[in-house]
Each structure stands twice: as structure tokens, then as C-alpha cells.
Symmetry: C2
Subunit: 256 residues, 2 copies
């Protein structure tokens, strides 16, 4: 049970491997590998090569192998990776062996969609509670859960072990909600409101902002348009974009 982890010395004690400290870029890709692996498992694959998994996940195979090697050696040379084993490993590393409880705050337009989303349940999470500040919304039942008032957060948090808070309120309320989540011990927040949150050390915030994604796409549109106005410098100018175009979570022109 008690496991020691020292920087550099990844001594593995018995069955449970020590949590290695993975590069953040790797962590961001593991969920994608996991999804691809589940697909493969469903279609009857027992093993998969790095090449096969890489293409299913939309990355390059060298990168995939390097990522997986960070978790330990779970492949077999000449054969590939055992799909079931790898799923277990990645789920373990991502902390998905326990189904984490999620609290969703802000049951408006977006919040309703999220509350009804089955992707929570199928991918390792459980919506434990819904909150809103609007009295007209409190009491409403959404896919089996009753919306509670945000003031009940402390009480509910004491009952359920809330691991992650999701903020789907207007931006103006987001900081206040974040503070309230932090106050009841939540140390991971997913923020859909378009604003920056201030949180204490040790609390992780990830942000999803639709408009930012669109604006990044807009930039590339603008750029592509300005390129086509240039005198032809050779063949297809569109593919002459700089190599680094692919952002951390952008896929660009992965061939068929």
C-alpha cells in the first residue's frame, strides 16, 4: 500500500508500480490512447502494434512508443502491446481505477447538455451533484439528479467525496464559484466560463473555451487565405506550412 517515489529511482514495489512523474505532454495524450484502446478491445483486438495504435490515436508511432515507455515496458517486441493490459495500466496511471465524483455548477444552457452527457459515466466519472444559484432551477430533475442550491455545496461535499468541480456559470460568477469549490476541498476544476480563475497552489484548473478554439481556427483560415494570394512558390502552398503547426491538441492533415 505505502509506496515510495523518489525522483529518478523508480523502484517498483511489488504489484503496484510507483507513480512516475510523466511529462505533461504525455499525460495529455494518454486519454486519447485509452479511448483508441477501448475501441480496439471492442473490435476484438488482443494486441496492437505501436503503429496501429498510433494511427488510431492520430499521433506518430515514435511519440506513442516514447509515451508508453514512460509507464514501463508493457509491450512485447515483435508482437506489440497487449490491449487489455495497456488499458489497465493507463487507467491506473490516470487514476481511473476509482470512479471520481464530479460536481457540476451552473445548470443553464450548457450545464443541461453536460448533465445529460453519457461520456462522464462511460469514461471513468460520476456526476455526483448539480448546483445552481437560481431558485427557479433548484429542485429541477435532470437525468436522475435533482438540482441543488449552491449554498448546499458544503453539505453535499461532506457527503460525497467531490474530486472535480465543473464550472458552467456565466464568467461573472465563475471566480466566486471556484472559491466556493476550493473552500470545500476541491482541488481540480474544469472551467467553461471564458475567464481566468485565481486558485491557491495545489489546485489545478483546466479551461475549455469554445471561442478561443474558433479564433485559433480563424487565424489559420486567415493565414491560408493570405498564402493563396501570394505568387505561387511551387506546388501546393497549403502544405508548405511550418512543421510546428500542429498545436498540442490540434491535428492537422493526418493522411487517410
Amino acid at each position: 500500500m505505502s509506496q515510495h517515489r523518489h525522483p529518478g529511482a523508480s523502484g517498483r514495489a511489488g504489484v503496484v508500480p510507483a507513480l512516475p512523474d510523466l511529462p505533461e505532454a504525455t499525460v495529455a495524450r494518454l486519454p486519447e490512447y485509452l479511448r483508441a484502446l477501448h475501441n480496439l478491445a471492442e473490435t476484438g483486438h488482443e494486441t496492437i502494434s505501436s503503429e496501429g495504435l498510433a494511427s488510431a490515436a492520430g499521433v506518430n508511432s515514435a511519440k506513442l512508443r516514447k509515451d508508453l515507455s514512460q509507464l514501463g515496458s508493457y509491450g512485447t517486441r515483435g508482437v506489440g502491446y497487449d490491449v487489455a493490459l495497456l488499458i489497465d495500466q493507463i487507467e491506473y496511471v490516470l487514476g481511473l481505477t476509482q470512479r471520481r465524483a464530479v460536481a457540476l455548477v451552473g445548470v443553464g444552457n450548457l450545464g443541461h447538455a453536460l448533465a445529460g452527457y453519457d461520456g462522464f459515466a462511460t469514461r471513468g466519472f460520476r456526476i455526483a451533484a448539480l448546483f445552481d444559484a437560481d431558485p427557479k432551477r433548484v429542485g429541477e430533475e435532470i437525468s436522475g439528479l435533482v438540482v441543488r442550491h449552491i449554498d448546499d455545496l458544503p453539505r453535499v461535499a461532506a457527503e460525497e467525496a467531490i474530486a472535480i468541480g465543473v464550472i458552467a456559470t456565466p464568467a461573472a460568477a465563475a471566480q466566486r464559484v471556484a472559491d466556493e469549490l476550493v473552500a470545500v476541498g476541491v482541488t481540480s476544476i474544469l472551467n467553461f466560463a471564458p475567464c481566468v480563475l485565481s486558485v491557491p497552489d495545489g489546485v489545478d484548473v483546466r479551461k475549455v473555451d469554445l471561442a478561443i478554439e474558433l479564433q485559433i481556427l480563424s487565424f489559420h483560415e486567415h493565414r491560408k487565405a493570405s498564402l493563396t494570394r501570394l505568387p505561387a512558390t511551387g506546388g501546393s502552398t497549403l502544405t508548405a506550412l511550418p512543421g510546428g503547426l500542429a498545436a498540442p491538441d490540434t491535428q492537422e492533415a493526418i493522411g487517410t
Copy 2:
């Protein structure tokens, strides 16, 4: 005293302002700066220092200055940046001087929320059309737009200049929809379905996957939990995370 520009007025015809090819990491942050600048403009600020803008955008000031310097020299030493001018500059670079038309495909749970989202309009975009494959959904009116059948996509695309396609269908349909979008000339896609899309060169795809975000948070939860089980190595172990913890679009522990 170099170039100033007006949307549609000066220097657009012959003298192309030479779109610099920005580092992708910079492009991903510009929208955040833009949002912060709009907030500042609304609260009456005419100029802002790199320090002030950086904290409003949740980044470090050196990074912000380097990012902005990529666009040209639009700051004044000893003073800061002119808020209005910088807004114009960033909007120009991001290609927001023209309001781009967005087609939303898949008007289900999530699609409804997106269709009613005012963040499109307020941040440079216009929902031009809604599509679905379900005959029961076709004809429904959502915030002023009528849902059309996906088979009408070619006709609508000919009328409106669709710049960006947003996919909010189940994963099983996403590739097919992407192909149809590409076929009518769309070169930028925002994909909410949890799957990898194959597109030809020159087409940009960005993905938003809620479950991936949650799983990344889960990893850090798992990690924090395993750290607290360690014998105290002196002081607050939670802040002893490696410096690179902050992912491209993660904010971690930005002090109050």
C-alpha cells in the same frame, strides 16, 4: 510610426500586411489576450502594461511581451500598450475583421447549447446554419435559425461562405460529417465528438473532448494523493510539483 490599419480601409488592397507566421503557442494565447483587452477597454483603461495584461490573461509578463513583439512594436516604453490599438491588431492577425460564418452539424443535446450560445456572436463569429440528419429535428427553429437536413449542406454552402464547421454529432457520424464538410470546401473544423478525424492536407481540425480534460485532471488528483502519502520531505509537498506542470492550456496555481 509604422503601419496603422483600419478594418477594410487602408492598405488592404495592394500592400498585404505580411502576415507573420507566428509560433503556434503564441497563436493559442492571442485570443486570451484579446478577451482580457476587451474587459480592460470596457472598464475604461486606455493603456495597459505588460504586467497588467499578463495578470489579466493569466500568463507571465515576459511571455506576453514576447508574444506581442511577434506582431510588431505596438507598445510604448515607459507607458505600456494602447488597449484599442492592440485589440485592432490582434483581431486583424486572428482574421476577425471579417465575421466568419460557422456551420453547426448535429443539433442534439450539446448542439442545442451551442446554437444558443451568444459567445459566437460576441467574439467574431456568426452561426450561419444548423444541420442534422434526424428528420424529426429538421425544421425546428433554434434561436432564430431553422435546422436543415445535412443533405442541404452543399446548397447552403454555396449561398453562405462557410468558414468553419462545428461537429456535434455522435462519434460514429463524425468522420462522415467531416468528409461532407471538406467536400463543400470547409477547411477548418472544430470537433466535439470523441474520435480522430482524417482530413486532407490543408484542413485544420481542433478537438474539444470533455472526458480528456477530466482524465487529465484525474491524473493530477491521483498524483497529488500519492504525494501526500509520502513521508514529508520538508515543507509543502504540493508545490513541489515539477515546473513544467502547466500544460499548454492549463493554469495551475496562479496566485491571488
